[in-house]
């Protein structure tokens, strides 16, 4: 037993060892030449999906490696364009009709859309998926994305045990989802929400099959009943070992791969070895492995860069001294060198001076409120209400413990010591404890490391969702009337230019009031074998190339 426990902390040594052993190998890869750039009709791709997902139920899941499986098998009314990340019609044949007041969205399904077992997809199937999302019995982690639909929030917040079945039924019937015909479905929203199309492109509203859920019960996510309308069908799920997805012949577009197998390897050092052993077609290229990869010309040429969709920050609990004073917060934000951090520690990613990452709607390039400036930071601290007070010397930085996280927070700890002369205590806690702590400002630690990854590319999902004072995910306790007003106005604004302006104003307030010190925008790299072609990656990929999976193919492996 002791071996099991100590192993956890030692496992990072694995990575180091893997680096050492592979660094001294210098073995040339023997991929040979790819004969032709032609798709192998029997092509099989093998990738690593990390650990076993807890659930792949579209209306319950919330983690990347869960969504990565669901979206192989299902497709929503809309999908995101792999290049622009704008919502485009998927199972819907064309853009929906939107009523003049912006409240009613009517989608018409594409002709001939089928499930992998041949059954036609109807408007009723979509209505079932969306209704299931709002149903309080489902307890979905992402139910809140449906709250924009009339009646969803009220129904979802009812208690299936305490409330009478009649009351529940009545609430369910008030839901703003109507099946107009076999092919038409209408949604009524609580307020105009241009981002609804992006929500319709996520996994929450995919056409889960009622007959399959009823047949499979709790285990409907097993291959026999996990039937969808996406590019692949799940033919095997060996728990804790692998998924096998085969091409769905009934998909609305031709799928070039015959099979996509996803194994579950937790250790990046091992998946790296497996990639070099040609057991995997996609391999890891994280910061710890980069030096090894860059020393080998073959491997180096197989690295693919992917921009990220997350913004990582140090958060302040604005209800706890000394972070009740915005000057103290801004002083912290301006006194660590993000460029050096990326270069020396993080290796992959971009230093962040505002919340929304570059290349997506709402990014504010000119924002320099939190720019690294030691003199200004010192001045801010000196003029703050806590200057010289003991509260500044008892600050504790809480973080989700891991070997890599430790070196990272130690680095910034040193920065604040050098630049502000403040000694911070470090407070590592385990993951689940951390998640529980940051749930609300009442329990949120004084100072903590966290990040936000977008669900859909719209500033609403960044600014309003995270920092509006009524948000369910706020943990900084940040309350700013002006910010609240601007974001709520922007959410409803139909004129895109005006909407962008409102968001930019609110974004500036955020940087200046500094409920968080922006740290970096993430990015990632991975390795791809030369025989894998047709991959279009995007910053929102739950799975490599997920928005154009049907185009991926492999050529004959030399």
């Amino acid at each position: 037993m002791t071996q099991r426990r100590s192993g956890l902390s030692l496992i990072s040594l694995l990575v180091i060892l893997a680096m050492l052993v592979s660094a001294c190998s210098g073995q040339p890869g023997n991929q040979g030449g790819t004969p032709a750039d032609q798709a192998d009709p029997n092509g099989e791709l093998i990738s690593n999906t990390g650990s076993e997902p807890d659930t792949i139920d579209p209306q319950k899941e919330s983690f990347v490696n869960e969504v990565a499986q669901t979206m192989m098998v299902f497709e929503g009314l809309m999908k995101l364009d792999a290049k622009t990340l704008k919502p485009i019609p998927a199972a819907a044949g064309k853009e929906p009709e939107i009523s003049a007041d912006g409240l009613k969205y009517t989608f018409t399904l594409r002709d001939g859309v089928k499930y992998s077992d041949g059954k036609a997809v109807t408007a009723k199937d979509f209505a079932y998926g969306w209704t299931r999302l709002c149903d309080p019995v489902t307890h979905g982690a992402y139910a809140f994305t449906g709250y924009i639909i009339v009646g969803c929030e009220t129904w979802n917040n009812m208690d299936p045990k305490k409330d009478t079945p009649a009351a529940l039924k009545a609430a369910g019937e008030k839901l703003g989802i109507k099946v107009l015909s076999e092919k038409q479905i209408e949604f009524t929203l609580t307020e105009p929400a241009p981002y609804f199309l992006s929500i319709a492109a996520t996994w929450v509203g995919v056409p889960t099959r009622q007959d399959m859920v009823e047949k499979g019960g709790d285990r409907w996510t097993e291959p026999a009943t996990f039937i969808g309308n996406g590019p692949f069908k799940m033919t095997e799920w060996k728990h804790n070992e692998k998924f096998v997805f085969d091409k769905n012949e009934n998909y609305r577009e031709p799928v070039k791969l015959k099979r996509w197998t996803k194994v579950m390897i937790n250790e990046s050092a091992v998946s790296f070895a497996a990639y070099r052993n040609n057991e995997l077609d996609f391999g890891p290229a994280n910061a710890e492995l980069l030096r090894t990869i860059e020393a080998d010309p073959d491997l180096k040429s197989q690295v693919v860069d992917v921009p990220g969709s997350c913004s990582i920050y140090y958060g302040f609990n604005t209800t706890r001294a000394p972070f009740t004073d915005a000057k103290v917060r801004l002083a912290f934000a301006k006194s660590f060198d993000r460029d050096a951090y990326i270069k020396d520690v993080q290796k992959i990613g971009k230093p962040a001076l505002s919340f929304i990452p570059p290349g997506r709607p709402g990014h504010d390039e000119g924002d320099s409120e939190q720019k690294f400036d030691v003199a200004a930071a010192k001045a801010l601290l000196a003029s703050s209400s806590f200057a010289g007070k003991p509260e500044l010397n008892t600050i504790k930085l809480t973080y989700r413990s891991s070997a890599t996280a430790k070196t990272r927070v130690e680095w910034v700890q040193q920065q604040w010591k050098t630049n502000l002369g403040l000694e911070l205590a470090l407070d590592p806690v385990d993951g689940t404890t951390f998640s529980q702590l940051v749930k609300s400002p009442a329990t949120t630690p004084q100072f903590f490391s966290l990040g936000w990854c977008e669900d859909y590319p719209d500033p609403q999902n960044w600014l309003t969702t995270v920092f509006h004072s009524t948000s369910t995910v706020t943990r900084t306790g940040f309350k700013n009337a002006e910010f609240d007003k601007l974001t709520r106005e922007a959410d409803k604004e139909k004129d895109p230019t005006k909407r962008a302006q409102l968001y930019q104003q609110s974004s500036r307030i955020l940087s200046k009031e500094a409920p968080v010190a922006f740290n970096y925008w993430n990015a990632s790299k991975y390795l791809q074998k030369p025989w894998v072609k047709g991959v279009t990656t995007s910053s929102l990929d739950f799975e490599i190339g997920i928005f154009k999976m049907n185009e991926i193919y492999v050529t004959k492996k030399g």
């Binding site: 037993m1 071996q3 694995l14 659930t55 070992e241 050092a269 091992v270 057991e279 995997l280």
Partner: protein, 307 residues
Amino acid sequence: MLKYTIRRLLLLIPTLFFVALIVFVLAKSAPGSPFDLNENRPLPQSTIDRLNEVYGFNKPIHEQFALYLGNAVRFDFGSSLVRNRPVADIVAAQLPVSAQLGVQALLLALAISLPLGVISALKQNSGVDYGSLLLATIGTTIPGFVIAIVFIYIFAVNLKVVPIVGWATPKHMILPTVILALGPAAFLTRITRSSMLEAIRQDYVRTARAKGLGEQVVVVTHIMKNAMIPVATVVGPATAGLITGSFIIEGIFSIPGIGREFILSIQKRDYPVIMGVYLLYAFIIAVANLTVDLVYGMLDPRIKVAK
């Protein structure tokens, strides 16, 4: 013998009760809950309250424990709170894999350590003895995951003779079995050697030689049989440890065993799985210990278990 066995089996009940009690209290007192897994998308408090009620987590802890025990004695171990699978299913699917790997490793470990330990003792301070000492030192001091990564590098990445990922074919099983066997093999070699050396110096061995028995008979029936008692003592718990899986080896080779559940269930505060796997572990340990005690009686008639 039968009476003794029955009495020991009955003693299992209080043992498992206390294990259950301790694990239950510890698991519940860890901060956080299975509904706190995603800090970026926390469930609304109303949903958590509802979930707590569904699973009875809002009741006092002694009531929860009574409820759990009540179900457990009827062999209903509940369902995982984070995965839609009954605990019994998880164990039924994953324990056989770990058990197979564990038994293979144990047999390999015994096949290496017993002959090596016996020969080292009989030829004390010879080349074989020093060789086994070296092997044993390496096996006990270098952790399995280090050996694993070195073996992966040599046999998979460089020589490309074995695959790394999964548990599909016998070829996949070679590396994990060998690596898992190394630790116990080293340990058992040392135990076998030292208890052999102790037995060799006993009076009854001198007596046996004095009455003119052949060397082979002396070694097998007088020395080895007695030397096996300490070995049996450690093989019991080692077996229990091996068949319930190894978090590290299963993690490295992506083997769908039960070993990883010991860690992951705790990380996710998946109470039913925590209880299930630790009770299973306690049960297997207890059975292994009982078996060892029964084997004592066979090895050494002076130890009377039949009282």
